[in-house]
C-alpha cells in the first residue's frame, strides 16, 4: 500500500470513528475550554479538574441529567483568545453551554454565540454588563461581576476605615488585558464618590517581572492595593508586596487572585493577604463526599486528584454545578430530557439556587444563594473576603458575603449595555 493510500485510509478511519463517537455518545454536550498547558496551566488545571470530577460524579451517581449522559470534550486554549475562538467553532454544534475561562475569549464569543444561539456562562468574569439580560440574551455571568468585586473590595476598605476613605490612596495592580482593565471604570466612579485617589498600575503578560511596579508602590505608598491578576502575575505580586513590606492585610485580590497557588511561593510573607471569593474553600461538603465515593475511590479522578478541595477546584465544582442545574431546569420547563441549546438557555435564565436547593445539591453553605432572571443574568453579586493564614496554609473567610455598591454598579451596567445594544442594534427584551 502506498504512503498516500495509508494516510488517506488512516484519516478516513479517524473521521469515521470520531463521527461514530459523537453520534453514539452525544447526549448533553458541555464542551470545556481549558488550559492545562502553558503559562496559566497552574490555574487552569485545578479548575478544569473540578469541572471534570463533577460531571463524572453526576454521570456515575445520577446516570447523567434526567437520564441523559453529559459529554464534556476538552479543548486546549492555552488562555489564548484566538485559540479559544477556534475551540468554540469546533465544538459549537449542539453545545449546551460554553465556559470560556477567559475574559478575552468571552468578549470574542459574545457576538458569535448570540448569533449562533449558544449559551455562554462566564462565572464571575467576562463582560460585566452582560449581567443585563435584556441586552445579552445568551450570556450569563452569575453569581457576581467584576464591578461587584471592585465595589465589594472598596466596601471592605470603607468598613475598615469607619466609612471614611477620603484622601486615601488605592492602587489597582492589574493584568494588562481585557480582564484586568474591567474594574477600572467602577473604581474611577467610586473614587469620585468616596474621595479616594486611584493609582492604576498595569502589568504586562505574563507578569514575571514587576519590580518597577512595586518600586512605584513603595514610593507612592498607597494605603491599599487591589489586584486583578492571573497566573504568575499573582505569585510575583504577592512576593514583591511582601518584599517591600507592604502591609498584607491591605492587599486585596479579586477572586481570581486568591488561590493556594498564588500565595504559596511567598511563604510566610503572604500571611494576611486577602482575596474576594464567591465560594468557600475546603473539602468537607457533601459534594466532595460524593465525588470521592463515585469518582476518586474508583480511580477516575481527573489528574492526580491533588487539587481536591482547593479554591480553584471548588470554583470548578461550583461552575459545573450551575451548568448542570441549568440543564435540569430546562428539562423541567420543556418537559423533555432531550433539550436543545435554545431550551438550555431558558434553563440557565431560570436557575434558582436558593439555600435549600444548594443543600439538596450537596453545596450547603458553599456559596451564597442566587437566582437568574430575564433581566438579571449576573446573580446576586455577593462576595466575601477571605484571608490567607500562612502558618496553617489555609484560607479563612473573614467576612460575611456582602453586596457591592448597586447604586454605582447598576447604573454603569445600564449605561454600558445600552450602548452595546445601540451599537449592535439589539432590541431590548423582558418587557
Amino acid at each position: 500500500m502506498g504512503l498516500k493510500k495509508m494516510i488517506v485510509g488512516f484519516l478516513g478511519s479517524v473521521i469515521a470513528i470520531g463521527g461514530f463517537l459523537e453520534v453514539a455518545t452525544a447526549d448533553l454536550k458541555f464542551p470545556m475550554l481549558v488550559y492545562r498547558t502553558g503559562a496559566y496551566a497552574p490555574n487552569g488545571i485545578p479548575n478544569a479538574d473540578g469541572f471534570v470530577d463533577y460531571y463524572k460524579m453526576i454521570n456515575a451517581r445520577d446516570g447523567g441529567i434526567g437520564g441523559e449522559k453529559i459529554v464534556f470534550p476538552e479543548c486546549e486554549t492555552g488562555y489564548k483568545t484566538q485559540v479559544g475562538v477556534e475551540c468554540y467553532e469546533k465544538h459549537k454544534e449542539n453545545a449546551m453551554v460554553f465556559q470560556p475561562m477567559s475574559t478575552g475569549i468571552t468578549y470574542q464569543l459574545i457576538p458569535k454565540a448570540s448569533a449562533d444561539g449558544v449559551t455562554v456562562y462566564s462565572t464571575g468574569y467576562g463582560r460585566t454588563s452582560a449581567k443585563n439580560g435584556k441586552v445579552f440574551k445568551w450570556i450569563f455571568n452569575a453569581p457576581a461581576t467584576y464591578w461587584d468585586g471592585a465595589s465589594i473590595a472598596v466596601r471592605h476598605i470603607l468598613k475598615q476605615n469607619l466609612g471614611n476613605i477620603k484622601g486615601k490612596k488605592i492602587a489597582l495592580v492589574y493584568h494588562n488585558s481585557a480582564y484586568g482593565k474591567e474594574p477600572i471604570r467602577t473604581l474611577q466612579v467610586l473614587a469620585k464618590k468616596h474621595g479616594y485617589k486611584l493609582m492604576l498600575l498595569p502589568v504586562d503578560h505574563p507578569g514575571q517581572e514587576q519590580k518597577a511596579t512595586w518600586l512605584k508602590i513603595r514610593k507612592q505608598r498607597p494605603n491599599y492595593v487591589l489586584m486583578w491578576g492571573w497566573g504568575v502575575m499573582n505569585q510575583v505580586a504577592i512576593k514583591q508586596a511582601s518584599s517591600i513590606k507592604f502591609p498584607m492585610e491591605n492587599f486585596i485580590g479579586i477572586w481570581w487572585s486568591g488561590s493556594e497557588n498564588d500565595v504559596m511561593p511567598a511563604g510566610a510573607g503572604a500571611h494576611g493577604y486577602k482575596a474576594l471569593t464567591f465560594n468557600a474553600p475546603g473539602d468537607d461538603y457533601q459534594v466532595h463526599k460524593d465525588i470521592k465515593k463515585y469518582v476518586h475511590d474508583k480511580g477516575q479522578a481527573s489528574g492526580d486528584g491533588s487539587h481536591f478541595g482547593t479554591v480553584l477546584y471548588n470554583r470548578g465544582l461550583f461552575q459545573a454545578m450551575v451548568q448542570v442545574e441549568a440543564a435540569r431546569v430546562a428539562q423541567k420547563i420543556h418537559g423533555t430530557s432531550k433539550i436543545t441549546p435554545a431550551m438550555y438557555r431558558d434553563g440557565m435564565e431560570n436557575v434558582d439556587l436558593n439555600a435549600k436547593r444548594m443543600e439538596e445539591l450537596g453545596f450547603k453553605n458553599f456559596a451564597p444563594p442566587f437566582k437568574n432572571t430575564c433581566e438579571n443574568h449576573g446573580g446576586s453579586g455577593l462576595a466575601a473576603v477571605q484571608q490567607w493564614d500562612a502558618k496553617a496554609k489555609k484560607w479563612n473567610m473573614i467576612t460575611e458575603y456582602m453586596y457591592g455598591d448597586a447604586e454605582v454598579v447598576d447604573k454603569l451596567i445600564a449605561e454600558d449595555s445600552t450602548k452595546y445594544a445601540k451599537e449592535q442594534k439589539i432590541a431590548m427584551r423582558c418587557n
Binding site: R36, T37, G38, A39, Y40, A41, P42, I45, N176, L200, L201, P202, V203, D204, P206, Q208, E209, K211, A212, T213, L215, K216, R218, K219, R221, G231, V232, Q235, V236, K239, S242, S243, I244, K245, N261, M264, P265, G267, G269, G299, G303, D304, S306
Partner: protein, 334 residues
C-alpha cells in the same frame, strides 16, 4: 540629598540588578551560539526544566508519577520526604549533562552542516518537546523553590539610607532585593569561572577554537561533537542557575520558560557571541526599562511600558550596530 535623587539612584540600582537576572538567561544563549552557531530557542525551557528537576529532587517526587499512576493504578508520588538542596543541585547538574548528551545524540548529530535556520527550527521543536516532557515528569503545579538563597528587601540598606534624605522630607530608605544581590554575585562568579575555563584549560581552548572556526578546529583533531555536548551541558548549568534565581522569585511554573523573551533584547544589545556583552547588555536593558517604566511612564501617565521598551532599545541599537556592542562584525567576501 533630595528624595527625587535618592529615588533615581534606587531605580538605577534596581534596574541594573534586574538586568543581571536577564544576563543569566542570555549567557546560556551566547555560549551555544558562540560554539555552534545555533540560536537555542529552548534556553528558556532549559531554565524551566532545570528548576522543575531541582524541585523534583528536593521533594523526592517520582518522575512521571502522574502517568505511572494513571497507567498502573498505583499511588506513587514520592521516593523520599526531602533531599538537601546541595545534593539536589548535584543531581540536577547530572540530569542537565545527560540532557545535553541526548540532544547532541538525537538532534544535533543528525543536523551537522545544515543551514542555521534548520538548527534554529530544531531548537523550537526541542523547546516544545522539553516543555511537554517536563510537564509529564513533574506536573504543572506551581512549585515552591527554596535553596537557601535569601530574598526580600535589604533592611540594612533601608536603615542606612533612611537618613540620607534632606531633613523634613518623607523618605523610607532605599530598597534592594537581596535575591538580586545574590544574583549579581553569582553572575560575577559564573563569568569569571567561564573566562578562566576558556583561557586556561585545554578544553576551554578547544571550545574557543570551535567557536572561532569549526573547520579549522576539526582539522587539528578537536572533536566537534564532544565540544557541543560540553557547551550544551554548561549552558544547561547556567539555565539551572537562572531557573533557581527566577524560580525563587515567582515559584517554579511553566511561565518561567518565557524569561527567554527577556534575554532577546539583551542579546541584540550585547551581541550574540560575547559573554561580557551578555552582562553589559543585560545591565543596559534592565536599567533602560526600569527608568522608562518609572520616569517616562510616570511622565505620560501610562504603565506597562518596560516590556516593549526593552525591544525598542534593541531595535534602535540594531539600526546603528547590528552586531551588538561586543558581537563579531559580519564581513562576507564576495
Amino acid at each position: 540629598m533630595s528624595v527625587e535623587l535618592l529615588n533615581f539612584i534606587e531605580t538605577v540600582i534596581n534596574g541594573l540588578m534586574s538586568g543581571i537576572m536577564y544576563s543569566l538567561v542570555a549567557l546560556g544563549f551566547v555560549l551555544i551560539f558562540k560554539a555552534s552557531g545555533v540560536f537555542n530557542f529552548a534556553q528558556g525551557v532549559f531554565a524551566l526544566f532545570a528548576a522543575l528537576t531541582l524541585v523534583g529532587f528536593q521533594t523526592g517526587q517520582v518522575p512521571f508519577s502522574h502517568l505511572i499512576n494513571e497507567l498502573f493504578g498505583t499511588n506513587f508520588h514520592n521516593w523520599y520526604p526531602s533531599l538537601h538542596s546541595f545534593f539536589a543541585i548535584i543531581l540536577t547538574i547530572i540530569t542537565m549533562i545527560i540532557l545535553a548528551w541526548l540532544i547532541e545524540k538525537l538532534v544535533l548529530k543528525h543536523l551537522v552542516n545544515q543551514e542555521p535556520i534548520i538548527l534554529f527550527m530544531a531548537t523550537i521543536g526541542l523547546a516544545f518537546v522539553l516543555e511537554g516532557v517536563g510537564d509529564l515528569m513533574w506536573g504543572s503545579d506551581v512549585k515552591v523553590l527554596d535553596v537557601g538563597i535569601p530574598s526580600g528587601g535589604s533592611e540594612w540598606l533601608e536603615k542606612t539610607t533612611i537618613g540620607w534624605a534632606s531633613e523634613g522630607s518623607e523618605y523610607y530608605g532605599m530598597y534592594i532585593d537581596v535575591l538580586n544581590v545574590w544574583a549579581t554575585i553569582i553572575a560575577v562568579i559564573l563569568v569569571t569561572a567561564l573566562a578562566l575555563f576558556s583561557q586556561y584549560t585545554k578544553t576551554g581552548r578547544a571550545l574557543r577554537a570551535v567557536a572561532d572556526d569549526h573547520q579549522a578546529a576539526l582539522s587539528v583533531g578537536i572533536s566537534l561533537r564532544s565540544i557541543w555536548v560540553l557547551v550544551w551541558a554548561i549552558s544547561g548549568f547556567i539555565a539551572m542557575v537562572a531557573g533557581i534565581m527566577w524560580g525563587t522569585e515567582s515559584g517554579v511554573q511553566f511561565s518561567l520558560s518565557l524569561i527567554a523573551l527577556k534575554a532577546l533584547p539583551v542579546l541584540i544589545l550585547g551581541g550574540f557571541t560575547s559573554i561580557p556583552g551578555a552582562i553589559i547588555g543585560g545591565l543596559l536593558i534592565g536599567l533602560g526599562e526600569k527608568l522608562a517604566e518609572i520616569y517616562i511612564g510616570g511622565l505620560l501617565d501610562i504603565g506597562a511600558i518596560e516590556n516593549w521598551f526593552a525591544y525598542f532599545m534593541a531595535l534602535v541599537f540594531l539600526l546603528f550596530r547590528p552586531q551588538g556592542l561586543f558581537g563579531d562584525k559580519i564581513i562576507e567576501r564576495v
